[in-house]
Symmetry: C2
Subunit: 471 residues, 2 copies
């Protein structure tokens, strides 16, 4: 095992030559910016790292424009960092080697919607909320929901998932194809609109989760789903986290096709109440959602209610109107910001471990014991149906000791998750923050293979360099 | 578009040096064979290519043994071809550059079953039937079912799927992790037992579908599923293929979670009747299966019956007992062999196109018209719920003209599928047979990227060389 990853960044800028800057200005005019405010805005994400700005930011409107920027960067061996909405949590966007930030947030076209095939192609800057608005009229939805209103390019790049993954899978399962600008500035298409294929290497899934280190994703072809005939959300309270997790394990093992199954511990409920005035009973709870026909939703709910009751679940409450459901899920999604606003001056250090479902109670128990002993404010929210949960420590922005304590506990939890045959990151990615953990988890041989792939596809190491692993 | 792929193989053997042969004999004794019968048995698959044997066959019992063979092959720059059950359809196993065949069919251990997590790890030689027997007592099953009783290593290597994919996905979605012997003879593990992960590049899915060209898969960790509470199969007859396909399209667009949805055309039904004496009504039909609770299966069946009736579906018949269902599915799985036994002296040239579901009727219509005009015996079976179908031509073994006609029609169908944004292969893989089609489908840039990956991971080009693309 490696030492906890140093939060002190090693910044080694590779300057943008004047000729390249001039070429960018010629082509992009005001959409090429070196203004400090713009660079600083693009030099941070939701991680606790210090702002580390790129040297220049270019706002692209098309795949061709991205290709032009990357071709120049390739020629001058300058780093390229793709930027969507800035909602990463692991330092993915920080310009640790300087370079040019390719902002795709203006690439918001729904390129092609094929409701009859349940597919859509979008530009990388389309956010999941924009997509869902665009397809709702057709009776369709896109289920992957990481909480933040992230861009679909960014979600693909980090292999994002979230609350619906227990039923609908992650970006890994829901991306059919991509348009990618390679490290040399060429444009390739991966995948087709067919639901499955055995045609050669799975380039689509090589880029999904590659965190911008192999190329820039500029378009994404996605699976869509018919809006369920019936949707019902429910909350259920438990005396302790262990009982809530025990109920989850049984729900999964019985094969109930639950659409969402989220754990909130007592602290999370309190922060949410403080923020959203929901008046939730202050105890650990499960927040669930069921999708299907009227009869199937009713049946799922009855099964789950039976399981929960056996484990002491109480106060089962339903939210069947869209408004009530939205209120609950909005509150859940705001847990992250609620934690910070209820603890002023704090930033969040969050874990993202994911373990086989049968080991979930064990790791959560251990983690709670250690978190309680630490004295730091914390809360737990979890996509527990997948075995994935986040323990978020709230640490004073300038308190190095608190941060070190949180990082140390986070490291211990990752070690535990790996020992239980799980992963250090269910959905946030490696970025800068988990580079040491990746070696612990995958082993030197597998990480060396990743390095070999990186060197082969990006020989000048210009694509988001310094992330996922050191070279 | 390229010319139809030449069935004349270009065989360029790279001899196994005496020193390597001696080392293999020392270590493996009688499990190292150069007997002609053994080599010939390993030099063919279910494709219409002539037998092309390896120089030596080694029967391995463990990952370590595979690693030892590959390390030797790496040292001597000798080709390595992994072999499971020999059920490939596209020439994957043919030793076009000679070398050593690594037979993993004795690697039949269930390494670890974790019913509480719905996961299992098996050696690569375990077949899907063996796996299902091993997990049935636990109330679990593994759904991927390509028809043949293939090995799970081989199924992973070709990204196989089959009848259940419409509900449960393909090997792409159901492999959690792999043990792989790399081209230099090292052993790496990819993935974990967690259901999802964002930890670095998706090496698992790089190897799934790589057809033995990047390394040898020696162990596979898979998702399992609880046996459904209720299972029901149904057949429904239609006046023509178009109506059957129309019903399928509506079933999928409505989001009915059908577990299997198979098309059999009139010819397929006749061949099956001839072989299995099932006495099926001789008309195009859909063969479907529904999984779920009693109530959910009933509801799905009613919905589907309604859709089918609107499109002229007749004679809806149920098979609710396991025996009746097995009889039907066994007959379906034997269609391939029924075609050949009902057409003595013939081999099968089969297509494997997969298109977006809304284009399925169009491509099947065109293909039927061309097949009818050709005068060749043919039949259609299809995993139509995925947009995937197989049109199988039966050509006299030694009739070059018939084969050329079939290959030409197959090529036209692939062109059509690609024009409709589909793929040349839904589940069989590229092998030797579809190498030209891959370039048509993916484009030169994407295939060049695949070549770059191959060269990076297998610089001596020893892993199943000459397959998927030329170097």
């Amino acid at each position: 095992m490696n030492a906890p990853h140093e939060l002190q960044l090693r910044v080694e800028p590779r300057p943008v030559p004047a000729a390249m800057l001039e070429a960018l200005r010629q082509r992009f005019g005001e959409r090429c910016s070196t203004a400090r405010a713009v660079r600083e805005q693009h030099g941070r994400d939701e991680s606790p790292y210090p702002v580390t700005p790129p040297e220049v930011v270019v706002f692209c409107d098309s795949t061709e424009e991205v290709a032009a920027v990357v071709a120049l960067a390739h020629q001058h061996a300058v780093p390229v960092i793709p930027y969507g909405t800035g909602s990463s949590l692991e330092g993915h966007l920080l310009a640790v080697q300087g370079g040019v930030c390719v902002d795709v947030s203006r690439m918001t076209q729904i390129v092609r919607l094929n409701p009859e095939d349940l597919t859509v192609t979008v530009q990388a800057g389309v956010t999941r909320e924009q997509l869902n608005q665009a397809v709702r009229d057709q009776g369709l939805f896109f289920p992957i929901d990481p909480g933040a209103n992230a861009s679909l390019g960014g979600m693909a790049a980090t292999r994002a998932s979230g609350t619906n993954a227990v039923r609908y899978g992650t970006m890994r399962e829901n991306v059919l194809g991509l348009t990618v600008v390679t490290a040399s500035g060429e444009v390739i298409r991966t995948g087709t609109r067919a639901r499955k294929s055995s045609a050669g290497y799975d380039l689509t899934r090589l880029f999904v989760g590659s965190e911008g280190t192999l190329g820039v994703i500029t378009e994404v072809t996605l699976k869509l789903y018919p809006l369920p005939e019936a949707v019902s959300a429910a909350i259920c309270h438990f005396a302790d986290v262990r009982s809530a997790v025990g109920a989850t394990i049984q729900i999964i093992q019985m094969g109930v096709p639950v659409a969402r199954c989220e754990l909130l511990d007592l602290n999370a409920v309190r922060f949410i109440n403080g923020q959203s005035k929901l008046g939730l009973r202050e105890s650990p709870m499960l927040l669930m959602e069921f999708h299907g026909s009227e009869a199937s939703v009713k049946e799922q709910a009855e099964t789950v209610q039976g399981i929960a009751a056996e484990l002491g679940g109480e106060d089962f409450q339903w939210a069947t109107t869209p408004e009530d459901r939205t209120r609950l899920w909005t509150a859940r999604h705001k847990a992250y910001f609620a934690g910070m606003t209820q603890n002023p001056g704090c930033r969040t250090v969050t874990t993202d471990t994911c373990v086989p479902i049968s080991r979930l109670a064990e790791i959560i128990d251990d983690s709670v014991r250690e978190a309680d002993a630490s004295g730091l404010p914390y809360y737990i929210v979890g996509h527990v149906g997948d075995g994935n949960f986040h323990l978020a420590y709230l640490v004073k922005e300038d308190d190095a000791t608190q941060r070190a304590v949180a990082e140390n506990l986070s490291h211990r939890m990752v070690q535990k998750a790996i020992a239980l045959e799980g992963t250090c990151t269910g959905e946030h990615g490696i970025g800068l923050h988990k580079m040491g953990f990746l070696v612990d988890e995958a082993g030197v041989g597998a990480v060396d293979m990743m390095r070999t792939l990186k060197r082969a596809l990006d020989p000048r190491n210009i694509m988001n360099p310094g992330k996922i692993f050191s070279l």
